[in-house]
Structure formats: structure tokens, C-alpha cells
Symmetry: C2
Subunit: 460 residues, 2 copies
């Protein structure tokens, strides 16, 4: 291995290469914290040419590469636990161009999401993909998992905002895909194949991002709701009557954890479910519509209580009740499920899933939240302090297998937005068929003939 690394140093004398134990540990893990990081080195290229050089070297020496962005992933997609070389894009983090006519921002893949949002904002536009890890995650990682988040309902996933990609494939070829075109019917859209491929086909080094007009003025409402059916009824009623920007739900258990970290109890009483709703508020008529819908909700029983933010500060407070959940659970090293269904399949699924979880997890606290308008539920299982991690994981994986079966029966997916990585790999079959996985493997062989690009992620 040392000889191989020496060859890399010879081939790319300016490449920054780290091999200190603390660096290997830092760059070898993501937010899953389940695997022991064990890369052999960390490469920090500063140019596309250096990335190409690394890939050619890796092919020659048959060394696996793990592309690395902000390592905020929750499925182990960026974990390096088998002597790989991590390619961190953190030095390739610049805005390369902005075009006001195309409304397009060209960036290096290592740029954090938040800096993309700010660069768009500085131009009077927005990049609308958004989620809580915005400050740490990189756009390259967002592309690798087709990241979703809290605005998908209105703006779609990352996929919709990628007008062009520069990719270094596992064969070491540089492909400039789609080149920022709105329309381009010239053969297979390889850009789409790269998006969501979790770095198993190549490394995204640059991206052309579509921007759009800023959102309208909005209002934020918090609703208290009696049960899952009410969450769905509220969503349907509000979607039909308002222009929704976001509709996020969570349970009383989630709220309890957030409030334990500070913040104010929103209602006098506890309620089983809550929804944060953000909607366009461009005129008095929008407010009248919102109030009227809320009153309908009280009458027909899907709403128990509600509050509308009286100021931007209060709107931010209401949002924190939802956005603070992940952080508030972190100390319980939660086991995360990130499932997706068609919205129409949610009622039947939820009833069965609630029963399954009550039966199988009687000893664990379970926190539900998510993006009901996209059919995306996050089910977090909290580890009791006194239970060893290995025992907890074993139990969770047993139940995840049952959950995966339930999902398959309801036409759902084991991963809505986190990706498959290592964590969900055992459950991929069910969401995807063996035939589909075989096609994926075949495609990987085309773009990555030596299987050096993030091998063992998604599938073996």
C-alpha cells in the first residue's frame, strides 16, 4: 500500500494527501457512526485534473475510492472502512459562474448547500432544495443521493435542479453531461443516471444548478391533529385550498424531545400529532382562505388546535419545532428509517406500520416525523441508554426486515432521500427487483469497469 501511495505522490506531486490517524478517522465516517473508519489515505484534489489522475492511479493499482462531500449522509454511502482512498471534494468548493439569462449557477461539487443558497440569494434568485444539514452537506453529496428535504412538495428533489454535470467516471473519463440545456433529446440522459448513484459510477466534480424566482411571501401555521388520518385529511384540504410551500408533520414524542432542548410549548394541551404548514400569503384572500380551512378542520375533526405565526420570529420558532428534531434525538443514536410511499398508500400502510412497531418495539421509544406531502416518513427508533449498541442494532434490523416486507406490499421504498449506501443494502430487494439490481450492476460495469468507485455501496 505504501508503494502505491508513493506512486500517487509521484504522479501528482501537488496533490494534498493525508494519512494521519485522526484524519483517516475524520474523513472515513459519515453521520451513521456505525462502521469503524479505516481508509488508507485521504486525497484532497484541487482540480478536475487531479481527480482524473487519482482515478487513473486507482485503476492501475486496483484501489477503491470513496467520494466524499460533507459526510452528513445517514446511510453509510461515504463510509470508508476497507482501506479505500477517500476523495474529499472540500477544496473544490467554489462558485465558478453565474448567468442571469440562464438563471444558472455553476459550482464545484464540494461547495456546501448553504453557500449555494446564499449565492443564489445574492443574485435575487433561489436554489430551493433545503434541509437541516444545509451548512455541512455538499452539493456533490446532494446530487449523489438526489437529496430531498423540506421543500420537495413545492420544488421537487435535487434532480429537478441539475442542468449539467461534470463527472469523472470510474474509467477516468471526464463527461460534461447536458451542459446546462433545458431541452436536449440526444440519446440517453446520463446526467440522470449519475444523480442518485451514490458515487458508484463516478465522481461529480462540477454542477450547473438551475435557480428560480424567490418564493412568495409566506405564512407559517402550526396545527394540532388527533391521528394519522387527520394528518392526511389536513394535507389534502390545505393542498387544494392554499399554495403550499411545505407541510411537515411530527408526533408528540418528537415535540417532547425538541422542547427538552429549549423552545416554547405551542399549545396549552398536548396533542398526538402536529403539522408545520407554510403557504403563500400574497394577499388578504390567502389569509381568509387559510382561516376558513382551519375552521373546517375544527368542525370536521381533523384539527384540534392551531396557531398562525404573528411575526417572522414566531414563524422561525414554529419551524424550529420541526427542524430541531434530528438534533434533539442525536444523543440516543437513533436507528433511522426513511421510507416513501404513494400518498394514497399511506393510510393503509400507516395503520399496519403503527401496529408492527408497537408490537415489535415495545421496549423502544419511536419518533415519527416527515414530509407527508411527498409520502416520506422518518421513523426513528431511540436506543435506551443501558442497551449495548450491537444488541440495539440487531433488534432494529430484525424489525426493518419486517418493515421492508410491509413496504414492498404497499409499493413503497426503503429509502426516500437518504440513499441505500451500506445501511439499507440488505433491504434493497423488495423496493427494487433482482432484475433491476442486475441491470444496475451491469451499468456499473460499463462506467466503472474495475469496480473502484465506492464499491459495496447500494449493492455488492
Amino acid at each position: 500500500m505504501d508503494a502505491a501511495l508513493d506512486a500517487l505522490r509521484d504522479a501528482l506531486p501537488d496533490l494534498r494527501l493525508l494519512t494521519d490517524a485522526s484524519e483517516l478517522e475524520h474523513y472515513g465516517r459519515d453521520w451513521t457512526r456505525r462502521w469503524t473508519p479505516a481508509p488508507c489515505a485521504i486525497a484532497l484534489p484541487a482540480s478536475v485534473d487531479e481527480v482524473v489522475g487519482i482515478v487513473h492511479w486507482a485503476r492501475e493499482h486496483q484501489i477503491a475510492l470513496v467520494p466524499s462531500g460533507g459526510r452528513t449522509g445517514l446511510s453509510g454511502g461515504a463510509v470508508a472502512a476497507n482501506g479505500e482512498v477517500v476523495i474529499s471534494l472540500e477544496r473544490m468548493n467554489k462558485v465558478l459562474a453565474f448567468d442571469p439569462v440562464d438563471r444558472m449557477l455553476t459550482v464545484q461539487a464540494g461547495i456546501p448547500l448553504q453557500l449555494v443558497q446564499e449565492a443564489a440569494c445574492a443574485q435575487g434568485l433561489q436554489y430551493p432544495v433545503d434541509f437541516a444539514a444545509r451548512g455541512s452537506c455538499s452539493i456533490g453529496g446532494n446530487i449523489a443521493t438526489n437529496a430531498g428535504g423540506i421543500r420537495v412538495l413545492r420544488y421537487g428533489n435535487t434532480r429537478e435542479w441539475i442542468a449539467g454535470l461534470t463527472v469523472v467516471t470510474g474509467a477516468g473519463e471526464v463527461l460534461h453531461l447536458n451542459k446546462g440545456l433545458v431541452k436536449n433529446s440526444s440519446g440517453y440522459d446520463l446526467r440522470q443516471l449519475i444523480i442518485g448513484a451514490e458515487g458508484t459510477l463516478g465522481i461529480v466534480v462540477e454542477a450547473m444548478l438551475k435557480l428560480t424566482a424567490p418564493p412568495p411571501p409566506t405564512q407559517v401555521m402550526l396545527l394540532a391533529l388527533p391521528d394519522f388520518d387527520a394528518v392526511l385529511s389536513a394535507f389534502s384540504a390545505l393542498r387544494d385550498g392554499l399554495r403550499l410551500e411545505a407541510f411537515e408533520f411530527f408526533t408528540d414524542v418528537a415535540l417532547k424531545h425538541v422542547l427538552a432542548h429549549g423552545g416554547q410549548q405551542p399549545f396549552d394541551e398536548d396533542h398526538p400529532f402536529y403539522a408545520v404548514v407554510e403557504y403563500a400569503h400574497e394577499s388578504e384572500a390567502d389569509e381568509v382562505a387559510a382561516l376558513s380551512l382551519f375552521e373546517q378542520g375544527l368542525e370536521s375533526g381533523w384539527a384540534l388546535d392551531g396557531v398562525i405565526a404573528g411575526s417572522d420570529a414566531q414563524a422561525a420558532q414554529l419551524w424550529r419545532l420541526r427542524e430541531g428534531i434530528t438534533e434533539s434525538l442525536a444523543r440516543y443514536t437513533p436507528y433511522k428509517n426513511d421510507v416513501a410511499l404513494r400518498i394514497s398508500a399511506l393510510p393503509a400502510f400507516l395503520h399496519e406500520a403503527e401496529r408492527l412497531i408497537a408490537e415489535e418495539y415495545p421496549q423502544f421509544e419511536v419518533v415519527w416525523f416527515g414530509h407527508i406531502g411527498d409520502g416520506n416518513l422518518h421513523i426513528n427508533v431511540l436506543k435506551p441508554d443501558d442497551l449495548p449498541q450491537a444488541d440495539f442494532l440487531r433488534d432494529c434490523e430484525r424489525v426493518t426486515k419486517l418493515l421492508a416486507g410491509l413496504l414492498a406490499r404497499h409499493g413503497g421504498s426503503i429509502s426516500a432521500e437518504h440513499g441505500i449506501g451500506l445501511v439499507k443494502k440488505p433491504y434493497l430487494i423488495g423496493t427494487r427487483t433482482a432484475e433491476e439490481v442486475a441491470v444496475m450492476q451491469g451499468i456499473k460495469r460499463v462506467l466503472d469497469p474495475d469496480d473502484i468507485m465506492n464499491p459495496g455501496k447500494i449493492f455488492d
Copy 2:
């Protein structure tokens, strides 16, 4: 061949199979009319099982298949000129399901676009992809070319509206891709690979289509403009100040041809360029904004004249000036270019392309029109009546080669929405690199190991 067809009849006794010469000619061509149809038979399956049976038979007998929808394509993607079996989906043309919660329509792939639009409308929703061939083209063909049309500016291409696909691959496997999910990060999105693949990887047999809320009330304006720069200035100004639903331009030559088929001259004088603009008109303020922008245009010189529709009938009349172009040119068997650029690249490209075309086509009439807001230009060259078709084609192909070079230099695409098929195959390199084409060929081998799915289309 007869023995092979007998084997097909034996394997699928209920399959409707046509071999009459007139049927072979009818089903073997598309709107290009450039190749002599020569399929060996036309299969009209009525079920997914029959499609699977045909593919297994074709693999066994090594017979090429040409998937066939409405055959309104302009790139020869549905041409069968080499003894293939055409699989027409015209009997698989039903709406299978509608779900109001998911806002999703599930259809068989042979259904015409217009029936999809009507089915959506009947549910109080819309399927927003739209173009002039709506009555004849099929949704499967739309998917095969990622069809665009006149609403892309606002709603995107066909790709954005496909929530799920059922595909029979060239290997004869039935894949149910994405299953209608909004979020699904579970490995490669093979659905995206099939969209735009022109039937070279498999046959789309069913699709789950997203629907959306109907468009707002709109207003239609026709502008007279002095030159290409003015067309772009008008687009930028109106995009920033109005909510555009469509922005389509055409030249005086196009208008002359449309008016020769009837219709009313919109202005007292002739002008070099025209634009049909449709924009949301929800309140008085929208109208004030539109008029103010138009006045700005008069002052700064990008607008020469304008008219706003006073009624739905007049709006339809204005639209006919744009939508009637293709039909009005049909008798000249035009040679069609369908190019795309980034909008920001249009000014420089247009100046060079205008010069190129004036120099190279002095003897031909050239008609420009298209979707400027998507960077998509249609350049139609009309055949003089007295010039033999072969001579005309030879001249057009010589110029297309020059145009392709110009496009490559400006980062454009030789096909915006028509696809590559047979017509644009010689010019694919330039828009795509040899490395990209090699990746496409490798992917085709994975999904279509015997090269029976529309072989020779897009690439060899």
C-alpha cells in the same frame, strides 16, 4: 422469415399480426417520409404478456423490433426499413387508473396525448405537456423522445411528469420503475434512462403520469419585433415581469405561409419577427404590468407593435399563427433542424447561424420558429418544387454538418425534442462525445443483450 412468423403465431395464437403490404407501409414509416418502409410484420399486442412474448420470440429468432406509437416522430425513430417487426401499441391505449390523492393517471403507453389531457381535465386537473401533434402522438412515443412542446418554459419536458414506468426490456424482463413515488433514493433511477432512449432499451408499456392543478386564467399577446436580439430582450423583460405560460417566436416567412392557409394578418405592416406570449392574468395588476412592459418595449425598441387578445376566440386565432406553421410547411417536405442552446448562448449562435444559412442556403427558403425561452429553435428548410428530393437532402445534410459544428462550439444540441433516430445520427458526435456514445452502447448491451430493440437508432 415465414417460419419465424409461424413460430410467433404458434407462441401467441391470440396476437394480432398484420403482413399486408399496405399495412407494412403504413406502420413502417413516421412523419419523416425519407425511408422506404420494409418491416416484415406488424404486431398489435393487447397486453403486457403479449409484448413479453414477442420480445422472447425476437430474441430466439434474432429479429429486430421497432416500438411504434403514433409515428408522428420527425427523426425516423419509428421507421422500420430493414425487415423488422413493428410493435404498435395502438391497442394498448386505455386509462388504467386515476388517483385523486396522488394526482396520478396510470395509462397504457399507446394512448394519444390528447386523451391523456382530456382524462386529466375531466378530473379537474391538467397534464401540461402539449404540442401540435397531440391528437396523433402517443404517450409512449412522448416518453421515448422526452417530448417538449409549447409549455416547457412553465412545466418542463415529459420527463418531469413521469412518476412510474412499466417497461419490457430487450431481455424480455418486465420492470416496474419508481412505482409512482415522489421520493425514492434506492439505487439508479432506471426510469430516467428509459425516458428519451427512443425505444432502444425496451418498450414502455404503461406509465404513471403526474397531474397538476389547471393553469391560471391567462392572456395572450402577439408582439412584432425587429430582430433576434429583440426577441431575446422581449423574453427577458416579460419573464421577469409576468408569470409566463408560453413564449413562442416565428419569422415573417413563417407567418406568410400560415396566412396562405387562411387567417388574418395581425398587424397593418409586415415585421421581421413575431412572438406569441401567454401569461397568467389573475388580476387587473397583471394586465397593468403587461401593458407597462409592452410600453417599455416600444420605448427601448425591442417591440414594434403588439396586440392583446380581446376574447378567447382571438387568443385562439393568435395561437393558430404559431401552431399552424408545421402544417403550412408540410407540402414543401421541409428539412427540419431542431436545435437547443443555453439561452445565454443564443445571441452569438443566432448571428453566426443566420450568416451560415444565408451563405449556404441562398437558393432555399428558410423558416425559423420555436421556443426561445427553452433555447429551442426550429429551422425548417423548404424544398423548391422543381428540385429532386435526393439533391435537396444532400444539400441540407452538408449544411447540417456545418450547423452541427457551430452548435458544438456554442455548447448546443443537435436535437432539442425530436430525438436522434436515424435523421440526426450522423451528427450525434459533437453534441455528445465518443466516450458518452460508448457508455450508451455499453448500457444498451446490458438492457438489450441481443440488440433487438430498435437497432441502428441513435447510434450504430
